[in-house]
């Protein structure tokens, strides 16, 4: 009877059975931001290809990239990459076996959120 449920078992994270917590939300956001960055990457590669092709094609790509849509994608992506950056550093700390006590882990979660917002604003001011 060991094989009755083969192939229909729950997959790993079981998101639906957990009450949301700072640690879980910040972890989910890491995955979300990392994967969402593909949108900005697509735009950047297209924009670079257009720049390499010539002024006419560049004008087309640049119009899209600097439109309200482009601004929205790049502003959100800027926050996403800074968030993913800090969450990645946190991951390195976790991987080293440190910072896993609940109190420290929650502080690190707040640090990721605060750090990403602050760095997004600083980057926007500088560029």
């Amino acid at each position: 009877m060991a094989d009755v449920n083969r192939g229909d078992r729950p997959l790993s994270p079981h998101l639906q059975v957990y009450r949301p917590q700072l640690t879980s939300i910040t972890s989910i956001l890491t995955r979300l931001t990392g994967n969402a960055l593909i949108v900005a990457t697509l735009l950047i590669v297209w924009w670079l290809l257009a720049a390499a092709t010539g002024p006419d094609y560049f004008a087309t790509a640049n119009a899209v990239v600097t439109s309200w849509f482009g601004d929205l994608v790049f502003t959100l992506s800027l926050w996403a990459i800074w968030y993913h950056y800090f969450a990645g550093l946190r991951h390195l700390i976790y991987d080293a076996g440190k910072g896993l006590e609940i109190e420290t882990a929650e502080k690190l979660g707040i640090a990721c959120i605060a750090g990403s917002v602050i760095m997004t604003i600083i980057t926007l001011i500088i560029i």
Partner: protein, 123 residues
């Protein structure tokens, strides 16, 4: 009593027979990306919205061309493996296989296109 170490007894019994290398790659690439991403953000942010000539000048600089190519390659490999982990968590069977192949094709396609574009601008 057999003279086997705990490691020897466990070896090869994992579900996938691999995975450590994948995790280690994410660690190594994340450290690499942590070094180059901030520089790219500021230089790219300044070039964005500039004229065609300004963009060409920015990415023609050897340092920026090398940095951008590194970022495209390492960043998209990091994406490919990260996205693969997500797919493996949420999808199974044929869907999983098709999605992993799609992510792989997309990642290498973007790497090749991006590298071609930067090289054409820089050289």
């Amino acid at each position: 009593m057999r003279f086997l170490t705990a490691r020897k007894r466990a070896e090869g019994l994992g579900a996938a027979h691999s995975g450590t290398e994948h995790h280690w790659y994410m660690i190594v690439s994340s450290v690499g990306l942590a070094l180059i991403v901030p520089i790219f953000l500021f230089v790219f942010g300044r070039a964005l919205g500039g004229s065609h000539q300004q963009v060409i000048d920015t990415f023609s600089h050897p340092a920026m061309a090398i940095l951008t190519m590194l970022l495209l390659y390492v960043g998209l490999q990091h994406f490919r493996k990260g996205a693969q982990t997500m797919i493996e968590d949420y999808a199974g069977g044929m869907t999983r296989k098709i999605l992993i192949i799609a992510v792989t094709v997309l990642s290498y396609g973007l790497i090749a296109t991006g590298l071609f574009a930067v090289l054409k601008i820089a050289l």
